[in-house]
């Protein structure tokens, strides 16, 4: 991992991003329950969960399959709505937001990194990074290039996903998650499809972002490796935080 040549760019962007941000939780779940109906039975994927992330904090959520990790991430990411409880994003109660408002909140404050990257195959690295901003006024191209340079892909700007390795693709995905200057970065098994060394590099990246950009990072994972990098680890079993 080569991080030294990009220091100048990082500090510059970090300096403009952080100062006016208020202290307090980036995202907060307050007594959140999420139930699903399945064949007449009601299953609680999350049961009265209290959870919060602070700016600059990196949290790992671990637990066996079906423990509600993904549901936690979906509710935090405003992709899913709780059956009961309150969701706050940057201090705002967003529990009752409609689809449009949740989409706009995601656009403004949340970045996503997925296990299988989910890049758009026909778009170049820069264009993939620009996807979240493509319907937003203003040219984010310099920022997209800058972000790719910072994740070490300065020489791959115009490559398409099929010309990149798994680790490189995940780094494009991370740059994409950061293009909207999010306050909250949500990662679902970010190292799940990567070998151990590449996984380590990606986690380094998360750690750096979290610290330098004052971004709250929540990573849902099976991978023990992830917990080595996080500030805090939360274990979820049967929808309950242990």
């Amino acid at each position: 991992m080569t991080d030294s040549p990009h220091d100048a760019a990082e500090t510059e962007s970090g300096a403009t991003a952080s100062p006016e941000r208020a202290a307090g939780h980036v995202a907060e779940l307050d007594g959140v329950t999420r139930e699903y109906r399945s064949g007449g039975e009601t299953i609680a994927a999350l049961a009265d969960v209290n959870f919060a992330v602070d700016p600059g904090e990196m949290v790992a959520v671990i637990g066996p399959s079906g423990s509600g990790k993904s549901t936690l991430l979906n509710v935090l990411g405003l992709l899913d709505v709780p059956t009961a409880g309150t969701v706050r994003l940057d201090g705002d109660d967003v529990t009752d937001y409609d689809d449009e408002a949740r989409t706009m909140a995601r656009r403004r404050t949340i970045g996503f990194v997925f296990q299988s990257f989910h890049l758009v195959p026909m778009l170049t690295a820069v264009e993939n990074v620009l996807v979240p901003t493509m319907f937003v006024e203003g040219d984010q191209r310099p920022r997209a290039r800058d972000l790719l340079e910072r994740v070490g892909l300065g020489d791959r700007l115009d490559h398409r996903p099929d010309q990149l390795s798994g680790g490189q693709r995940q780094r494009v995905a991370i740059a994409r998650a950061l293009v909207n200057e999010p306050r909250l970065l949500l990662a679902d098994e970010p190292t799940g499809n990567l070998d151990r060394d590449t996984g380590r590099n990606i986690l380094d990246e998360f750690e750096r972002i979290s610290a330098e950009e004052e971004v709250g990072v929540v990573a849902v994972t099976h991978d023990e490796l992830v917990t080595e990098f996080t500030d805090r680890t939360v274990e979820l079993i049967d929808g309950v935080i242990q």
Partner: protein, 374 residues
């Protein structure tokens, strides 16, 4: 080529269409066929109609008035000519007499039908010389007859035993019903009344109107005059082609609707295949309406590409057809054909765009949660 940030929906649409070129090609082919069905058939119809109209000659603005069934003397009287003139204000009214006479030059003689007209200039065109109006002396000869008799402009022939100087050679249109060989001044055929009256109206519509108004005015009790106008034929020819075109346009429209359905099918499949990707779009903050815009743009783009190809193909076909039927390939660019092309293109874009609406709505409902689970 298309910038992602300036035209995001268009850029994504373009890239998505290029993803599966075979599928895109087939969907486009449907649209091309639909456009050709409308435009090329319309153009061919115009070409056929143009040809048929040319055959009818340039006299579709004339009305011929002749004695009707209940006309005892079988002539049109001066009084009736006055009535005709009253009705046909602004039109040239040319009473005519005709008789079969012997026309002779020094070496040849022929029995031909001779027309006597006071104002032949309104009815005939001269190839050589000029036709005076009114004509009080001299003779007008058809070019063919002049050849047969071996005479030229300025020479003398005898018509019915009288000597005439040839003051013009007629440029005969050659259309049917117009076979005039010899024209002499009206009074040189000595009879009461006239065999027919030709009224030259402003245009075909006026001719058709006069063809009805003249009998209405003149035939107070009995049917003493009847009328004929080539405009009637022209109108029935036009009517026939209008019907034919409407039927063919109907067929063309159906084929575009079918093409639209196939686009609907293709788009729906492609949207379902791309559900994961669309889910990611939704997750990273792209709104439902923006997703819809992308998919509708894709469908519209299919219509535009198919429409352009269809228009080009239709122009080529029209060029060839006009060349073959009328010998004037450039006639393909007449305004009426441009209307057909615009109609085909417009319908193609409309049908494709509408076909994209449902798939777009379907796409916009993609649930990002499903993607994260994957």
């Amino acid at each position: 080529m298309i910038d992602l940030l300036e035209f995001p929906a268009l850029r994504m649409a373009w890239l998505n269409l290029r993803r599966n070129t075979l599928r895109t090609g087939l969907a486009t082919l449907g649209i091309v066929i639909g456009v050709v069905a409308i435009a090329a058939i319309g153009i061919t119809g115009t070409a056929l109609q143009y040809g048929a109209t040319q055959e009818l000659g340039g006299l579709s603005n004339t009305v011929t008035v002749f004695p009707g069934e209940e006309n005892a003397d079988n002539v049109i009287t001066d009084q009736q000519v006055d009535s005709i003139e009253r009705v046909a204000t602004g039109a040239v009214v040319a009473p005519q007499r005709s008789d079969t006479m012997e026309v002779a030059s020094r070496s040849e003689r022929r029995q031909v039908n001779v027309e006597a007209v006071s104002r032949p200039a309104a009815l005939y065109d001269a190839a050589e010389g000029t036709i005076p109006s009114p004509m009080r002396s001299g003779v007008l000869l058809n070019a063919d007859l002049a050849d047969e008799l071996g005479v030229e402009l300025g020479q003398t022939v005898s018509v019915g035993g009288r000597s005439y100087r040839i003051i013009a050679i007629l440029d005969e249109p050659g259309g049917f019903g117009q076979g005039v060989s010899v024209v002499i001044p009206l009074d040189d055929i000595d009879q009461d009344g006239y065999d027919q009256v030709t009224v030259v109206a402003e245009d075909g519509d006026a001719a058709q109107r006069l063809a009805e108004e003249i009998p209405a005015e003149v035939n107070q009790r009995d049917e003493v005059v009847d009328t004929f106008t080539p405009a009637d034929i022209q109108e029935s020819v036009s009517g026939f082609f209008a019907t034919l075109n409407a039927a063919l346009l109907g067929v063309g429209s159906i084929s575009l609707v079918v093409a639209g359905v196939s686009i609907l099918n293709v788009m729906l499949m492609s949207v379902i295949e791309r559900q994961a990707e669309i889910g990611v779009f939704r997750a990273v903050g792209i709104r439902r309406r923006e997703v819809m815009r992308m998919v509708v743009a894709e469908a519209t783009l299919l219509g535009v590409v198919g429409g352009v190809l269809g228009v080009v193909l239709s122009l080529l076909i029209g060029y060839a057809v006009n060349g073959l039927l009328n010998g004037q390939p450039m006639l393909v660019f007449q305004p009426r054909n441009l209307e057909f092309l615009a109609l085909g293109f417009g319908f193609a874009v409309l049908a494709s765009t509408l076909s994209g609406v449902y798939p777009a709505w379907k796409a916009s409902t993609a649930n990002p949660v499903e993607v994260l689970r994957g």
